[in-house]
Symmetry: C2
Subunit: 353 residues, 2 copies
């Protein structure tokens, strides 16, 4: 890694300023409810306030980036769907018909679809941001998924998009993905960076059967054995067994944290991107909202290892940013609670005995 945009971004990331915490807690405790009785809504409001650095909150302006890329590892027959679905779903998202479009509208969030590595030409498509680094990764079972320089470029795409969003006035960014084969890549990253066995972390993805699960596990073992990703070098792991959309999401996290803005992480694949970001700079932690626990079995294992309690647990396993959109809705609710509730003194309500 040269002293690149990536390095500059990592140097700009600072922990949130905890000094506003007392003022935020005092305000929450002055609202007409028993202290702490709104549970997660109160902690979400607090985290959001710490990120903004001010005890007065505005309703977030929300944008979701959904990164799409293909995976050479699909050659190993690790997915229930053909790889063509990646590009087809990009077009579906571009025309507003995918789940993320529906849930983005529901949450009042813009949804931007980014082709960062689809194995096909989507340049004619409207509503697709083209930032293709390469046409999908190589098959990690037989060699590195991509060059480290390509992984850095993909991360920098994410950093740049995060920067653009913040310049546009966005104050809460969600990340999601689409990429047939990417639950295998995410599992390989997590297996390498955390003490999780391959069997604990491999799941059904879009719906493979038991044999498919076995193939995924074998492919990961082979990929790790062949590529020897260095667990102390997250960019090495990302390039050897990761994916372009995962790198893009890592970049959004870094760029968002560097700009002092919060980022809502979607499910299993997005969590692998967050894990890479955390290894590159652990201070990004303060900026991360983990939206939900996926039905993909490795996600709960991974979140537990990271000591993270996600906001929702709805059995989702779609990705795209769908869980992030739903969690954004709850962050909105938390900010509204913070801003709109009456205080004990204002409403003439007696306090605790």
């Amino acid at each position: 890694m040269n002293d690149s945009i990536l390095q500059q971004t990592l140097h700009r990331i600072r922990p949130t300023d905890k000094t506003v915490s007392d003022a935020v807690t005092a305000h929450l405790n002055d609202l007409t409810k028993p202290p702490g009785s709104l549970g997660r809504l109160e902690s979400l409001a607090t985290q959001y306030a710490l990120i903004t650095g001010a005890p007065e909150l505005s309703l977030p302006r929300k944008r979701i980036y959904t990164f799409a890329a293909d995976h050479g590892v699909t050659e190993e027959n690790v997915s229930a769907y053909p790889k063509e679905v990646t590009g087809q779903m990009v077009l579906n998202m571009a025309s507003g018909g995918a789940a993320i479009n529906v849930l983005g509208r529901h949450a009042g969030a813009e949804v931007f679809v980014v082709d960062i590595g689809v194995d096909g030409d989507l340049t004619d498509a409207d509503n697709v941001i083209t930032r293709k680094i390469r046409k999908g990764t190589a098959n990690m079972a037989t060699g590195p998924a991509m060059r480290k320089s390509e992984a850095v470029k993909a991360v920098e795409v994410g950093i740049q998009l995060a920067t653009e969003a913040v310049q546009d006035g966005v104050t809460l960014i969600g990340i999601g993905e689409m990429g047939i084969g990417n639950s295998t890549a995410a599992a390989a990253i997590i297996h390498t960076l955390l003490p999780c066995s391959v069997n604990d972390i491999v799941g059904r993805g879009t719906g493979v059967d038991d044999d498919g699960m076995k193939r995924k596990a074998q492919v990961i073992v082979k990929a790790v054995s062949n590529n020897r990703p260095d667990a102390d070098d997250a960019m090495d792991v990302l390039s050897k067994v990761g994916g372009l959309e995962i790198a893009g999401m890592t970049g959004v996290i870094l760029g968002t944290a560097a700009a002092g803005v919060g980022v809502v992480v979607d499910g299993f694949i997005a969590t692998s991107a967050a894990l890479v970001a955390l290894r590159l700079c652990e201070d990004v932690h303060d900026y991360l909202f983990f939206s939900h626990c996926s039905a993909e079995q490795g996600h709960g294992v991974c979140l537990e290892q990271l000591n993270i309690h996600p906001i929702l647990d709805l059995g989702l396993r779609l990705g795209e940013g769908t869980g992030a959109a739903l969690a954004m809705n709850l962050i909105d609710a938390a900010v509204k609670i913070y801003n709109e509730m009456a205080t004990f003194s204002g409403a003439g309500v007696s306090g605790k005995q």
Copy 2:
């Protein structure tokens, strides 16, 4: 019980028509996502469709009834807040400053506050529906909380309000409550109707300390011992150790189910009302959405006994209908997914291999 409105309502409740289930599942599986990958959103859409009885869905029109009442058992010093707070919070809700107002607005739900038994005169207050049965219950530690005839009347208030809502075009009703002392009453109901020990079911309510928890447990043991509620007669239990707001919520559930409309149950106290409704007519089950698992320790125990997996788990312990409002938002999301997503054929996306 005479052959009252209550009896007539119970006779009108039917299980939902499961024949639309196949059409609903077929539509969900035709949407551009792996089958089942939107987890709880898909099951919520299915339940909502079964309740409406049609495979075409409209976005719910939503109303929340928040019932307020006082509890004579507060004489036993079982709450962290003085009983005056019940009436004060009704006024706060009537002026739009309580958490339920904020979250009702967030969910696009009307919030109606009902004085069904506050120990005070609120007839001059705007925006309060006055249906007072009596000025709070009697102290259940020393005698029955109310007469059975009063409990029936309170249930019938709920039935009537549910009927009015349905006449107004409401298609999804939420229930919540406000009543200092009511976590003691709810615990007494649940302890009587389910095989839950007093210590498992008693919690901190609005925030009592360890001594307060002990007092609550002792009071419940005393109330059950003195009143001998008949576990085979849910109305007997409701009248002897229950509360007026709990009875009102039971009535809404019955009236809503009888009208073929769904009802969203809030937290611990609302679940005790649902338990009474289930004992009066188990077919109401099909119409119930259990919104969340409360931080009140007895709630998880009770839901587990009932084999219910609530939608959210956000550490809420406020009541008022706040969890119901948040869950309504997810039911809306589920209906939007059902209505707005593209199909595989429509979007030109390949299916499973």
